[in-house]
Symmetry: D3
Subunit: 136 residues, 6 copies
């Protein structure tokens, strides 16, 4: 059993707020992240898959296939986008690092299984001081 991780990056705008709350309550809870004019980040996405190494090829899967899935299912939809208004798989949720990681997991779990591997972890770095990890 081996674990392989591929990094991809995207740069997006977002805002953290609960629509049912008042502006004051959102400011209290989310601080500057509640700015209605948006702010943004360079996100780093680390996707870890696991499985058995093919004894002939010496690899778990062809990394090009994993990168293709990540670009089709995630990066092309979030890079240089507004995470709150333009990303279908982030509809109806706060665009926190937690929720982005969970929703990315949901988008890629099945395509990765079709490759013959198992999704193990989605890690999302929002700033150099904060990151989240989701194991499904």
């Amino acid at each position: 059993m081996i674990h392989i991780t591929r990094r991809e990056r995207f740069s997006s705008a977002h805002r953290l707020f609960v629509p049912e709350w008042s502006m004051e309550d959102n400011d209290d809870f989310f601080g500057a992240c509640n700015n209605p004019n948006w702010h943004g980040h360079n996100y780093e996405l680390f996707v870890t898959i696991k499985g058995e190494v093919n004894q002939q090829t010496g690899v778990l899967i062809n990394l090009k296939d994993l990168s293709k899935i990540l670009n089709e299912k995630v990066i092309s939809k979030v890079d240089h986008k507004n995470l709150n208004t333009e990303v279908s798989f982030l509809k109806d949720c706060v665009t926190s690092a937690e929720m982005i990681a969970i929703r990315i997991w949901n988008e890629i779990e099945e395509p990765i299984r079709d490759l013959g591997a198992e999704l193990y972890k989605v890690k999302l770095i929002e700033t150099e001081n904060n990151y989240v990890e989701y194991y499904g």
Copy 2:
């Protein structure tokens, strides 16, 4: 003569476009950076000042004073903000890394001179693959 550099960081939303141009022309030139719904970055700002070392204190200036200027004049105005619509010193310009660096220079050159040092360089990293440097 010594050069000292202080790093500060900010996370902002922006959009690159020329208002006089059509949407198509802006797309051709700026690509995904022209998204009218914004995108964003974690910016890293490196400000380099130069001057003579004080022979008694062993330092050029007190770095706390430099950090205070950078926070008052720059970081508090751009962090978790929309660079196109909320930052007075970026009014009426494309919010490219080039223009942000030049305008930051203009904001801090005089306060740094008042500290007894000379502003030497403003370096702004937009992504791990791109940065600009401005020497005035």
Copy 3:
């Protein structure tokens, strides 16, 4: 279940030695780290907590609260300090990365539980070539 990690940093002096051992034995075992005049490091502390994401706010806890705990319980006590002589929670132990990580765990486990999350890991980077991880 989600894991969230917050990074904090501190710069401290320390010395590695067993008080019951001779200077020679300490030199043999700890090498230059046994310098009685101290040496020091820029430490990086990564604290990982886990728990369920709040479905309304989209976050596990408010990271400001975690950061406040880390600063009150750890950073304010170790940053720009001598780890051997000035830190009450490091009394009576070798100030190895292992022991610092374990003692930091003991300081923050309960306050983090009071926040509604569970402490999962304390990771402490001493140099770019060495780090320790403690899971309780």
Copy 4:
């Protein structure tokens, strides 16, 4: 129980290909990595061991001993070498990151056990976008 990680680095040439396959099939599967004239990488190796902290010394083991094992068993054999033709423990396998990590595990597991610790993980970074982890 504590986990300790030591980083070592090596710079090597290699080529990915299955000897039983045609050049065309290898090109299809491995792309540019199948270049018969070789290419190379700066590899970063992170070896994590685990065990109980010695209550007197405050450490799991003396890191100098771990570093010595890693240099004798791995780094001296792979650094500035051709991984396909010059490394005995990589004989008869594709020199993928997966296989290198697995074979390194086999080389160091026993010597680390002799130190009084248990090998927990071999992590091998091939490029900033790809790494593998092996847990035995």
Copy 5:
């Protein structure tokens, strides 16, 4: 006047030796870098150009055009290649970081001038401990 830097990466095999020297003399001077079976690196290339910012677009040049030149003239020729035997612009020279940087300068100076900018610096990082800079 503004300076803009673009980073590109390539992974290559090479060997350092003077063909007119004996194996012993090359070993004495180049050490393990003289391995006739090759070794390799992940190179990081930082290309800095300078010029006036266009007052309408806010940028010096379109970075896509710079990236295209770097890929056509450099990266496509060196990435996953043997620098000693497969790269026409490195013919007849030692493939030291110094010579690679100088020869890259020669390949891209004119195309960058045709873009309306001036090549200012080629920086080449060979390992985290060594890099060269060439200013023409």
Copy 6:
């Protein structure tokens, strides 16, 4: 003309204070850096030299010779030491990053000239947010 940079690292304890000042004045000016019980850092030292590339060897100088000078003249004297009390070339000065960089320059300028190169810059990183550069 080429510029070559070599990185070395050291971990040391120090304290910033002016002996002629009162404790209060030192606290006001240097803050926590005036802790009489010391604190410490992981310093990164980047030494840049310049000169003509030897047309036969393709290199400016043999980097092993530069590394040897840096280790003999600097690293062996400061690593795992107290910069205020144990380093002869830092006698009688505040151990600020500025003064350390200047004094390192004085220690290595002549030995580097003897190698046939010219010292161009000493860069000293004290934390990820602060560094100094000295050009002689």
